[in-house]
C-alpha cells in the first residue's frame, strides 16, 4: 500500500461574490501518495488552480471548509506562522505565470536564496550562493554564475520558468504542486522541464500534483489522473485506464477534442456550450448534463457521487452508461435502419 502524503477530505473553497459565497472547489476529496504524479485536468474555470491555492493556503479571502491533511497535519487549520514553516519547505509550488510570480526588483539569485534562508537561517552566505548555483545548474540554466545576478525581465520565458522551478525545489519539498508548469513554453523546453520534475520525483521520493489542461503532458507524466469539471472531480483513474477506457462523458469529450500529431482525424470534437461561470454553476444534478443535451435527463442521477467502478477507477453520475457522441449514435441508428 502506497504511503499517503496528502489527504484532502471534503474540501470546499468558496469565494464571495456580492454577499453570497460560491464554491469554486466543491466538496472534493483526493489523495496523493509518495513518489506519485497525480495530474489534475480540466478547462480553465473548473477550479483546478483554486484547489492548488487552497492546498498551499494562499487564499486570503476565500472560505475554506474541510480538511487538508499533509502527513496527518491539517494545513487548512494552521495559523499563518505554522503555515510559513511548511510552505516552501515541505510544500513547494511552481506557479503558472513566471513573469508575475517573480519579484521584478530582486535578482534571481537573491530570490532563490531567500527561500533557503527562511527555512535554514544558519546557512552561511557563501554556502547559500553555492546552493543557489547548484540549483540553477540542476534546472539546466546555462551560465548560472551570470544568471544569478540577473533580474527576471532579463531572462526568457523558459528561463524564468526554470527559476521558478529552482525556487520551488530549493528545499527539496516532499509535495510539489505544479500549476501549468509548461503551458507557456515551447515543446523542446517543455520536455526538458518535465524530465526535470520526473527526476525530482525519483530523487526525493516526492509526491507531485500536476495541474494542466494539456492531455499530452498528462499521458507523459502522470501515474494517476483526476478530471475536474465545475469544481468537482468527475473521474479518477490510473493513467492507462483513463486514456484507454475513459468513462465519464466529459473525459471522453476532452480526449476527442485534442488535435494530435500522432493520429489522423478530420474534425475535432467540440463540447457544446461553455463552462458555466461561478455564480451560474448548476448546484444540483449532473453538472455536465447541460453540455450533452442529447442525452436524456433520466440518464443522470439526482445527486451524483463519485462511485468506484473498478479498483482505483471512480466516476461521477450514471450518465456515462448511456453516453455516446451524437455522430456515433447517428451511425448506430444508420446500422439499425
Amino acid at each position: 500500500m502506497a504511503e499517503k502524503l496528502l489527504d484532502i477530505k471534503n474540501l470546499t473553497t468558496s469565494f464571495r461574490i456580492k454577499d453570497d459565497y460560491h464554491a469554486a472547489v466543491d466538496n472534493l476529496s483526493l489523495t496523493v501518495n509518495k513518489n506519485e504524479v497525480l495530474a489534475i485536468v480540466g478547462e480553465s474555470g473548473c477550479g483546478k488552480s483554486a484547489l492548488a491555492f487552497s492546498i498551499m493556503g494562499l487564499h486570503t479571502r476565500a472560505k475554506i471548509e474541510g480538511d487538508i491533511l499533509y502527513k496527518g497535519n491539517n494545513i487548512a487549520k494552521m495559523s499563518p506562522s505554522e503555515l510559513n514553516k511548511v510552505r516552501g519547505n515541505d510544500l513547494g509550488m511552481i506557479f503558472q505565470d513566471p513573469l508575475t510570480s517573480l519579484n521584478p526588483l530582486m535578482e534571481v539569485g537573491e530570490q532563490i536564496g531567500e527561500t533557503l534562508y527562511l527555512h535554514n537561517k544558519n546557512m552561511s552566505k557563501n554556502a547559500r550562493r553555492e546552493k543557489v548555483l547548484d540549483l540553477l545548474n540542476k534546472v539546466g540554466i546555462p551560465r548560472a554564475e551570470h544568471v544569478i545576478n540577473q533580474f527576471p525581465h532579463e531572462l526568457s520565458g523558459g528561463m524564468r520558468q526554470r527559476v521558478m522551478i529552482a525556487m520551488a525545489i530549493a528545499n527539496k519539498p516532499e509535495l510539489l504542486i505544479a500549476d501549468e508548469p509548461t503551458t507557456a513554453l515551447d515543446v523542446t523546453i517543455q520536455s526538458q522541464i518535465l524530465d526535470l520534475i520526473n527526476k525530482l520525483k525519483d530523487e526525493m521520493d516526492s509526491g507531485i500534483v500536476l495541474i494542466t489542461h494539456d492531455l499530452g503532458v498528462v499521458a507523459e507524466m502522470a501515474d494517476r489522473v483526476a478530471v475536474m469539471y465545475a469544481g468537482q472531480i468527475v473521474e479518477v483513474a490510473d493513467v492507462k485506464t483513463l486514456f484507454e477506457s475513459p468513462l465519464h462523458p466529459y473525459t471522453r469529450s476532452l480526449l476527442n477534442s485534442v488535435p494530435n500529431a500522432n493520429t489522423e482525424q478530420d474534425e475535432l470534437h467540440v463540447i457544446q456550450g461553455i463552462v458555466p461561470s461561478l455564480q451560474n454553476l448548476p448546484r444540483e444534478g449532473c453538472r455536465f448534463g447541460a453540455r450533452i443535451p442529447w442525452i436524456d435527463e433520466s440518464a443522470h442521477e439526482k445527486h451524483p457521487e463519485l462511485k468506484e467502478v473498478a479498483p482505483g477507477h471512480q466516476v461521477r453520475c450514471t450518465c456515462y452508461k448511456h453516453f455516446s457522441f451524437p455522430d456515433e449514435s447517428k451511425e448506430e441508428q444508420h446500422v439499425l435502419s
Binding site: 478547462e43 515543446v187 489542461h213 499530452g216 485534442v258 500529431a261 482525424q265 474534425e267 475535432l268
Partner: protein, 310 residues
Amino acid sequence: MSYLEVNDLKVHFPIKGGVFGRTVGHIKAVDGVSFSLEKGKTYGLVGESGSGKTTTGRAIIGLNNITSGKVMFDGKEITNMRRAKSDARKNIQMIFQDPYSSLNPKKRVVDIVSEPLRNFENLTRKEERKRVQELLELVGLSPESILKYPHEFSGGQRQRIGIARAIALKPKLIIADEPVSALDVSVQAQVLNFMKEIQKELDLTYLFISHDLGVIKHMCDEIGIMYKGRYVEEGTAEDIFNDPQHIYTKRLVAAIPDIDPNKREEKRKFREEVKVEYDQSYNDYFDEEGLAYKLQPVSDTHLVALPEKG
C-alpha cells in the same frame, strides 16, 4: 504560379546604443526566408519563441518593415506596401494570437467588426449593420451580440469576433498568428473546426503560425520550420512528421508529448537518443554563429538546411 511568394525575406531590427542613440548593430529577426503558398491551402510556420515566425507574418502584411527581399501576392509585388487603401491590404487579413488583448475593450462588437468595412467600403449605417450581422451569423454568434462589449464573451467567442473582423472584407489570404494558443482544448477544437469550414466556404488561403505541432499537423498541408530567423526544413506535413531530416526538426518532433501512456518509456528513450545526436552533430548542422545553412532539396517537396560540405 503560386499565390503568395516570399523571396529571401529579411527583417532586421536596429539596436540603438551609445550617447547619441546610434545604431550599433542589428538583430536579424528574419534572415533570408523564402517560401510560396498555393491558393486554398494552409501553410504552417513553426518555430520556438524568438525564431522569427511572427515577424515573418507581420512583415508580409506590412506591420514590420522589410529590410530586403520581395513579397509577391497574386502576381503583384506588395513589399513594404504603404498605401493604406491598397487592394493587398484588403485581401490579406490577420487573426491575432490573444483574443483577450486584440479586441478594443471600449468598443462594441459592431464597431470592432465594421472597422475594416468603414475603411474600405462606403456603406450606410443600415447596410453596415446588416453586413456585421451576417458576419456574426457566419461565425456562429447571435445577432443580438452586436451591441455587446468584448468582455461579455468567452475566449472562443472572442476569437470568433476576431475572425469575423478578419473575414469582413472577404480577404483571400489570412495570416493566423497562434490563433488558438490562448484557448482551452475544447474551445481550440471549436475555432480550428470553424477555420477549416470557412476555408472551404470562402476559398481562403491560410498562413498558420504556431508552435503547437499537434495543431499544425491537424491544419496544414505544407510546413516550414524556422530557427533563429532562418528555415531549417520545409516540406509536406508527411515529410516533416514522418521523415524529419534536420537535427532540429527531429528534436522538435521527438519532443511532442504522446497521448498514449503506454508509449511513455519508448518515447523517453527515443528522446534521449535524439538529444545525444543533437548535441553531437549540432556543429555540423549549424555554422559558427549557430545559424542554419541554405536549404537543399532532398525530394520534390522536401527541403532541408543540410551542411554545405558533406
